[in-house]
Every structure is written in C-alpha cells, then in structure tokens.
C-alpha cells in the first residue's frame, strides 16, 4: 500500500466532516488550531478543503474531537447532506432546529450506513416505487382515499387491516424505516434522495398505533410529494398546507379502508344490536389504530354521532386501562431501531469477513459485546442454526 490516502481523498468532504465534528465537540477554530500547532487560518483552510492534511494532524484532530479517524476517511457513499435538505423545513424556528438536528444527523448516518452496507454486500434494497401521484386540483379527501385504494391494490393488501406496516414499507416498497428516539412532539421525519430513495425516521417513544399512523403519513409524502423533506411535529403550522392536509387524511383511508370498515361495523352492530365502547376498542385493535383515530373516522362516516369520543373522554375513559381489561394485547410489532434488511446485511458482511467486528458494532450502534450478542441472535433468527447448513442456497436450481 504505497499511496497515501490523504493525497487522493475529497478534501472538501473531509473538511466539512471535520468542521461538523469540531462544532459538535464545542471547540472553536482557535482551539483546534492549537491541537495541531497551527494558525487559526490553517483550520479555516482545512475545513474549506483548501489545505491537505497530514496523517498526524488528522489523528490529533480526531482525538481532540473525540471521534474515530474512520469517521473521516472511510469510503462512505456521498449523499446530499440532510441538513441542507431540511433547512427549509425548520428555517422558521431556530429552537426547533436545535432540538431536532441531533436526530436528523443520526438519521442521516443510519441511512448512509445502510447504503454503505448495500454496496459492501452488493445487495441494494429492491425498489417497488410507483410514479408520484398527481394530486393537482383534486379535493383532499378524495385524493387521499383514491391513493390509498390504488396503493392497497398495487401492494396486494386487499381491504383488510395492514399488519406489519413497517415490513411492508421496507420489503414491498423499498423504503428505509428507522425507529429513533425523539422528543414526544415529533412523530416522523421523511427524506428522499436519488441514491437513498425514500427514508423515514419514526418516533420510537410513541405507541405502535401512533407509529403506524406516522408511517402511513410519511408514506403519503413519499407517494405524492416525494422530493419534499418533512419533519412532522405538533403545533408546526399556523395554517396547514395542502400537502400536509393530504398526508393527514391518507392514513385513515390506508389503514381503515371504507368498504372493510363499513362491513365490520355493520357485522358488529348486527351481532350486538348496538355499537358499544367495547366494539370501538376491539375494532381499533383489529385495524391497529388508536381508539381516537377510529372514533373520528366513524364520526366522519356518520356511523357514530359526532362528539362521541369527547363524551367518552368526559366520562373518564382510560384507553390503556380498558384495553388491558379487554385483553387486547399490544399490536404485533418490530420496534428495532434498524430495519431488518439493514441488520441482515450487517451480519452477512461480518460473517463473510467484509467488515470488522468493530465496524459491525458501529453499524448497529452498540458496543462490541452487545454486537456479538446481536450477531448470535441474528444468526439464529435468519436460520435457526449455526452450522454450515445456514449458508445453503435453498432456491430451486
């Protein structure tokens, strides 16, 4: 290995990464300059990509910033920085920006990792992307319902409940869905890039019903406003834009199709002679939506009187308590931070000796010990076995 990688690396990209790391560590350019015994102007030039770094300087700066050298020189795929994409989405509020920026960076890192793993394994996530739906001049509710029907048909979902929505978006559509910790008011972040395709980060802290709603909401952005990045949080708009109203309307039609809901409602009504709060809870559980979401949907369909939910709440209805009393179990879900395809690419790459154990741990965002535990469980999950038979190709020749 005769060549020095720092002679051939993209200096602008390296400079940008160093600048980001310096800021994150809370150091000024003058502090950083002291680390490498240089003038502040040297750091300015390095961060602009105008001055070549020596290995010694890179090592010193990485140590001072508390980062690994691999964070700066690894051959990671180049994608449009998420911060640039999202600037428009939060430019109105600096406070919001400060709150959400760490999550966006984490989301971006995971998306890049995903792409890197695909390249290492030469196994891109299969894409089954429809053309963007044109909703120009369409009434919002009609547009939302027609897209929901078309997508259900395209994905072969019939008109029943959409179980395992996350898996459907990941495996049947090819969208990268991460579950990340965020403040409670944030529900979803959506981004699109030609290389990465559709990417979503859903609030891990929310109940699964709400996460499913957020995923469907994000999916509509993908379907109808693909290239517009979105950060969805409460109290975001004084006046809700049309694109957002469409995204808000879509989940109810996608998760609770009119025909199926009407039929289930009528069946229940016929059987019991009425539609009780117990029926409401059972039906919400059946569709994997919140009681509130179902209640408002039934109110809109004029199947229950408007204000029913408010009246139930006024009577002191405790949703989680009632669900427990009715024996309605938590919705079957996979609440891992990382998509399954991502995890399997990482374990395959480790197994084939294409990444080191340390890098595998970084891909999973855990320490080495936890990485070994996950690797073991992923092997078991993939194959249920440990020996050579786990690597057989079971396809028909």
């Amino acid at each position: 290995m005769a060549t020095n990688i720092l002679d051939n690396i993209d200096l602008r990209q390296l400079g940008g990464l160093l600048q980001q790391a310096r800021k994150k560590s809370g150091m000024t350019q003058a502090d950083a300059a002291k680390v490498i015994d240089a003038a502040r102007t040297t750091i300015v030039a390095i961060e602009k990509g105008e001055r070549r770094l020596k290995s010694k300087e890179l090592i010193k700066l990485a140590r001072a910033y508390g980062r690994a050298v691999s964070d700066f020189v690894r051959s990671t795929p180049v994608t449009e920085p998420f911060e640039v994409q999202f600037r428009a989405a939060y430019q109105r509020n600096e406070q919001e920006e400060a709150r959400i920026t760490p999550t966006i960076r984490h989301f971006e890192e995971l998306c890049r990792n995903y792409l890197e793993l695909e390249k290492i394994m030469d196994a891109p996530l299969p894409r089954n992307y429809p053309q963007e739906y044109d909703v120009t001049n369409m009434p919002i509710e009609a547009a939302a319902e027609s897209i929901a029907i078309a997508e259900r048909q395209r994905l072969g979902l019939g008109d029943g409940p959409v179980h395992m929505l996350r898996d459907i978006l990941e495996h049947s559509v090819g969208i990268r869905v991460f579950y990340l910790s965020m403040l409670a008011k944030y529900s979803e972040i959506y981004s699109y890039d030609d290389q990465l395709g559709g990417c979503m980060a859903i609030n891990l802290g929310h109940h699964e019903e709400r996460r499913r709603w957020s995923m469907a909401h994000g999916y509509l952005h993908f379907l109808a406003h693909r290239r517009k990045p979105v950060i969805d949080f409460e109290g975001q708009y004084k006046r809700i834009p049309e694109s957002e109203r469409l995204a808000e309307a879509f989940p109810k039609y996608f998760l609770m199709p009119t025909s199926s809901l009407l039929s289930r409602f009528n069946d229940m009504h016929r059987t019991h002679g009425k539609f009780t709060p117990t029926n409401l809870f059972t039906l919400a559980h059946y569709y994997g939506v919140s009681v509130e979401a179902l209640g408002y949907r039934l109110e809109e369909m004029k199947l229950i009187p408007s204000g029913t939910l408010d009246r139930l709440r006024d009577r002191g209805l405790k949703v989680r308590k009632v669900q427990k009393e009715l024996g309605l179990e938590e919705i079957d879900q996979r609440a891992d931070t990382l998509p399954t395809h991502y995890q399997h690419l990482a374990i395959e790459a480790l197994d084939q000796g294409l990444i080191t154990e340390g890098r595998f741990a970084e891909f999973l965002g855990v320490d080495r010990l936890e990485a070994r535990r996950i690797a073991e469980s992923l092997f078991e999950y993939s194959s249920g076995m440990f020996d050579e038979s786990a690597y057989l190709d079971l396809r028909q020749a």
Binding site: M1, T3, N4, I5, L6, I9, K54, S55, K56, L58, I59, A68, V69, S70, V73, R74, S75, L350, Q352, G353, L354, I355, T356, E357, G358, R359, D367, R368, L369, E370, R372, R373, E376, F386, D387, E388
Partner: protein
C-alpha cells in the same frame, strides 16, 4: 506455540475474550513475547470492558486489564513515526476500523506479531503483511492450557466463560474449531 517476533499486538477481540475468561493475567504470562495493546484499542474498548465487569459477579475480574498494564504484562503503545501514522490512516480507509488499523500499522512497521480473531482484519493483514505471524484467541488459550497442564474441567470453564461472558465462538472455518468443540462437548 512459537512466536517468531519479539512482541505481539493484541486487538480488541482478543482482549475482550481474555478478560471474559477471568484469566487475563495468567494467559498473558504464558505468551512467549512482550504483549502490547495500542492506545487506540485501550481507549476505545474500555467501555466494553466496563460492561463486561458490570455483568460480572466476580469482583476480582474488575481491574484485570489495568493490573496487567501496571504489572508490565501488557504495554500500551502509540504511533512513534509519521510513516506509522500514514499507514494507520491508509488502513483505516480499507478496514473502516481504528482499532484493527492501529494494531496492523504498528505491527507492520515494528515487525511484531498480531493476535486477532477478526476475519476481515486477518485477510487484510495476510495480504498486506505476509511476513507477520497472526495468532488467535484459541491458539493462545490452547497454548496456555498445555503449558500449565490445565485440567479438562478448568479449560472447559475458561472456554465457557469466553463463550457466555465474551459471547465469542469460533467461526466455522477456524482451524481450532474441532478442538474447541471437543472441549465444550
């Protein structure tokens, strides 16, 4: 086990395994060369070792790693020339891993042996530094057990500790897999 180099650099996989065994000191004492760990591995893997300790009920395990350094059984080294630093950065680009890259770069320039279980690192070092001896956790533990004439039960408990606490098991193509399976049976 003969080591044809004056020093051997342990990577993070091996350190974790030896600490998990509960016999780090004894294992290091059995290695016929000065054992070294890089500053990068020491700093980056301390948290993992801390977790290993947290999960351990044996208080004597608590500072095996630090004791080994204090006793001089394990010395910590860092780059001492620009060429080592340059090789390290080049290796990082290839391996994407600071710990393995530092281990390999220092071993390469000082003609030291390497101890690692990492598949990618092994194939990379075999290609880049074919003159260097590469040993594994199992080779070193096997050598220690033979040297100390460990009882079957003790050896089994050591390998079990590495398996359960360190969550390590040899890869299906590991040259000592059969030996490991026989002991663990």
């Amino acid at each position: 086990m003969e080591i044809t180099h004056s020093h051997i650099v342990l990577d993070a996989c091996c350190i974790l395994n030896f600490c998990a065994s509960g016999y780090l000191i004894e294992i290091l004492e059995s290695i016929p060369a000065q054992v070294v760990v890089t500053k990068i591995v020491r700093e980056r893997e301390l948290l993992t070792l801390q977790r290993l300790r947290d999960e351990s009920s044996e208080s004597e395990d608590v500072s095996q790693f630090e004791i080994a350094i204090e006793k001089g059984l394990l010395s910590v080294t860092d780059f001492n020339s620009e060429i080592e630093e340059e090789t390290f950065v080049n290796y990082v680009f290839e391996l994407g891993d600071d710990g393995e890259s530092a281990t390999g770069a220092i071993a390469f320039h000082r003609n030291w042996a390497i101890a690692t279980d990492d598949k990618k690192a092994i194939s990379f070092f075999e290609r880049e530094s074919p003159h260097l001896q590469i040993l594994s956790t199992l080779a070193i533990v096997k050598n220690w057990s033979e040297q100390e004439k460990l009882s079957y039960d003790t050896l089994r408990s050591v390998l079990s500790a590495i398996r359960t606490r360190g969550r390590y098991m040899p890869h299906r193509n590991h040259p000592l897999l059969r030996w490991w399976k026989d002991v663990m049976r």
